[in-house]
Symmetry: C2
Subunit: 564 residues, 2 copies
């Protein structure tokens, strides 16, 4: 059996090696148009920042062997042709026509089974000046080497990053944090990480990045790039940004042209269609990684997840099936994580906006709690947002915290359940391992489930931090804030905002109900939203209805960047 694999970055090598381990006699050939193969593309921002010292490090095994063609030949028994481009698939003859990019020579490569691991390419903006030197995409290690050598040569004082997705933000951090480059991120949507996290978390993450020196232009459209020999300006509507370096990270496009030309089923979005065994519409041709769609296990609709982690897992499934096995990749819930300076953001499943876009009747529930026992000395406030359908079904989880391992852990635990359509009560009872140095007896993930349940049941009526911000920026004549904390905490606010700010500590509220102002609607306020929830119940019982409890309280306001 001869298996030919087109593409040798992530999925290709995994499929090849898995097959060879199961069927050592199989003949496997991988071709790739690049020179470097089998590298960790997700590490590019860390190579640009200098955290990873050389590009080779992204191409070595954990035991420091370079994964080049010789390595695949010797250690894995896999033939590799690099700098070789597949031009056409002849499915009836089972031949791939290719060309050697070094010599220009045409090659004919036969196959019994074919694997398409053609990946994706950065989306081009098709704007004037996009091909000027100094405008980079982050598509492969060679680009990354170009970016880093410019920076190391001291030629980059100002940079513009187009696109506030994961790679764009990671690149912005790399440029700012280590190299001190004055960096502006331009994003066409009105928030960072659009489609992945809700507006409030996005504002919190952006606020942190701003504190660290990154500038942002949101809802901003790029018109083009200008400069003589090299780029020196990015043209926006009504503004020009100086730039010695531009990084375009505006999403990726699946490389499915080969598949389409060969008559394989390809979606209108350009993704190759595969079954759960990762077979295309031609059962002798498998495909996976950034060129395919797989089911979104939350919505049941097709999803697109260009992630090295999923590519590897799909590659193993393909390797098993090529060996005559019966492995499946059922789909994904879209788990993600990103480090942004000293905080991290992680999530899985649907954000509130995405859920609504899918026609689901959903709410977002924002809770704030320490990442470990509140009596433990070192701890950080974690923000967690649970997205739930009004039926009680959990659709997604997103969060933000200093550090990140603990946040990724909570998100990972919810992600493990998401495909099974858990009810909020399952999150309320979720058994995240408890010990004071790592978690709370009522852990934040349980609190999120319980808070969602209380809101859905109508026990808790809340206001998001962005809703509060909008109110606060307005006239402030039609509401009161009732601060339910101790006097020492409330005092500065009482002095600063005597007309709007009122104060009764939660534990005195039962005895002081007659002091509660009843002429305007009441916003209930405390440090993280717990005492104000208790206060709301006491007020309801006393017939004072229509109050709103600020989700996440002062902790959310502060993280949001509101300086009240």
């Amino acid at each position: 059996m001869h298996v030919l694999i087109i593409g040798a970055v992530a999925l290709g090598p995994k499929a090849a090696c898995r097959l060879k381990r199961l069927v050592p006699d199989a003949r496997v050939t991988m071709i790739d148009q690049g020179f470097r193969i089998s590298y960790g593309g997700c590490g590019i921002p860390y190579y640009v920042s200098g955290d990873v010292s050389s590009a080779d490090e992204l191409q070595v095994t954990s035991f420091h062997m370079l994964r080049d063609p010789k390595f695949f030949q010797d250690a894995k028994g896999v033939d590799v042709l690099s700098r070789t481009r597949a031009e056409r698939i002849d499915r009836s003859a089972k031949i791939v026509q290719a060309s050697d990019l070094n010599t220009g020579q045409a090659l004919q490569l036969g196959y019994d089974k074919l694997v398409l691991a053609t990946g994706s390419r950065p989306r081009r903006l098709d704007l004037p000046g996009e091909d000027l030197p100094g405008v980079f995409a982050v598509s492969n290690l060679e680009d990354a080497e170009g970016i880093r050598s410019r920076i190391e040569a001291g030629k980059v004082g100002k940079a513009v990053v187009i696109g506030a997705g994961f790679i764009g933000l990671e690149m912005a951090e790399a440029l700012t944090d280590i190299w001190g480059v004055e960096t502006t991120v331009v994003e066409i949507a009105n928030q960072i990480l659009p489609g992945f996290i809700g507006a409030d978390l996005a504002q919190m993450a952006r606020s942190h990045m701003q504190e660290k020196g990154v500038s942002f232009r949101l809802s901003a459209k790029v018109l083009g790039f200008a400069g003589e020999e090299r780029v020196n300006r990015v043209l926006l509507e009504g503004e020009e940004l100086e730039a010695d370096l531009v990084i375009v990270s505006a999403g990726v496009i699946p490389n499915s042209e080969l598949a389409m030309a060969a008559g394989l089923e390809v979606s209108s979005k350009g993704t190759i269609i595969v079954n759960t065994r990762m077979q295309t519409s031609d059962p002798d041709i498998y495909a996976g990684g950034n060129c395919v769609q797989v089911p979104n296990l939350v919505t049941g609709q097709p999803g697109y997840y260009p992630l090295g982690s999923l590519a590897n897992r799909q590659g193993r499934v393909i390797g098993t099936n090529l060996a005559g096995g019966d492995a499946e990749f059922p789909g994904a819930v879209g788990g993600f994580a990103v480090r942004l300076f000293e905080i991290s953001v992680a999530g899985a499943g649907l954000s509130l906006e995405t859920a609504k876009h899918c026609g689901l009747d959903a709410i977002g529930v924002h809770v704030v709690q320490f990442d470990r026992a509140h009596f433990f000395p070192e701890k950080e406030l974690m923000h967690l947002e649970l997205v739930v359908e009004k039926t009680g079904r959990v659709l997604g989880v997103q969060g933000l915290c200093a550090g990140g391992d603990g946040l990724v852990g909570r998100v990972g635990a919810v992600a493990a359940l998401l495909s099974r359509h858990p009810h909020v009560s399952e999150i309320g009872n979720l058994e995240y391992p408890y010990s004071p140095p790592f978690s709370s007896a009522m852990d934040i993930v349980n609190v999120a489930g319980n808070a969602a349940e209380n809101i859905l049941a109508g026990y808790s009526k809340t206001l998001t931090v962005s809703e509060f911000a909008t109110l606060w920026e307005g006239s402030r004549h039609d509401f009161h804030v009732l601060d339910c904390r101790g006097l020492a905490n409330a005092q500065p606010f009482l002095e600063k905002y005597p007309d709007v700010w009122h104060h009764i500590p939660q534990d005195e509220l039962r005895a002081r109900l007659d002091e509660v102002p009843r002429d305007k609607r009441l916003i209930l306020f405390c440090n993280a939203g717990g005492r104000s929830y208790e206060a709301q119940i006491t007020l309801e019982q006393a017939g004072i209805t229509g109050t709103r409890n600020l989700q996440g309280g002062l902790a959310a306001l502060r993280k949001y960047g509101m300086d009240i």
Copy 2:
């Protein structure tokens, strides 16, 4: 409605507050025989160590209010009688007879619904000298204050901890790390954390604690305690240990005497029997926390989980049901975590020994991998052991790593699935959020699932580190070690063990098959078990069968404490 709650540490207050939030008019009374109520008992070792500076900190809310009876009255509308002991339940009259421990006065407390939150007490050893001053249990904050004041007074040079469970090990760390007390842990089983982790991980954790200065006596039986006015010796079989302080942490006994005397169903192990709504055999009496059994969701058998985290969740379920709701606590998979100096150990579900004890045909699969992308600069080796039934069903997961948040995260993600009886392939495809600073493209949790699948399918034949240690301590005449790493790594071993150690790098093995010694069985060896697995396949293909691959390779040996 009047609800009476017996016990006011974890479950009691949670049930009371939940009920009051749902039914603010309900009359709720909590009684507790202790003076301190509503404290975080799991924080006691951190109070003893000094990480938590005062005992009050374990009793305050996250916003620094002391959870004393006045707090419950003012903030929660709950009446509390502390230093009040329940003596008898009269179910027909719906009366609890109690006594005021300060005055000796008898009380009669009526109820419509009763909640038993009576908790557990430390198991006594019933040995001579157990009541000598200086012999402590870790049962409540008062004991902890006694221990800490002795240490702070400089009166403790040597300590003995009886029992190597979570509390025993945490106390040993507290005594050694901060106070420099010479501490010996005595355990009757032949490993630490018996029943929770396998023998190999236990040896690794013990090895770390020994490096940090803790001594151990395993398989050691305590015969008694000796001393004049205070304890000064612990008597073992054939040995006496000097001790200024003895901490007995040999497990806990559910406090179910009250329930039993009232004719409620109690198991032969002394746990109160409840349904998933947390109702006892009397539907007007609820119970939860350390005095009840709940289903073990892995085995389907009754389980006993004396954990503050589960007590809190069960308390909320009881509060909801008291309010007329219909909440359920389905059971637990036994998630746990513990910090031991610079490492942590965490797990969920069954250990290999426990699985075998339950009559399940299971294997343990040990993998070692970095906790984040291998090209990321800061990283630690994580050890993960997956316990799987030969059917492919995952029964449990345990692990060990420096730090701990990342380990708890992986365990939490597997724990979330365990009650659903996942197949190993689901762990292989588990979507732990990927980003180089937090995880690997093929994360250790996926690798564990895949490794287990390969072993179950017969592709991979392994040897555990303890099996290797036993072989190595034997004659070394009946096996060869084939080191599959690079020469620089293998050289020292070749020089030290010329008779047994052989070396062919994995990537040269195909070409050097004729050099493989065939006269004795072969143990395949590399840094973490990956290359030796590849070598095994190449050898099998060449007809060299019967080899065994050392799980976790050198990384496992080193952590195990083998200095070869």
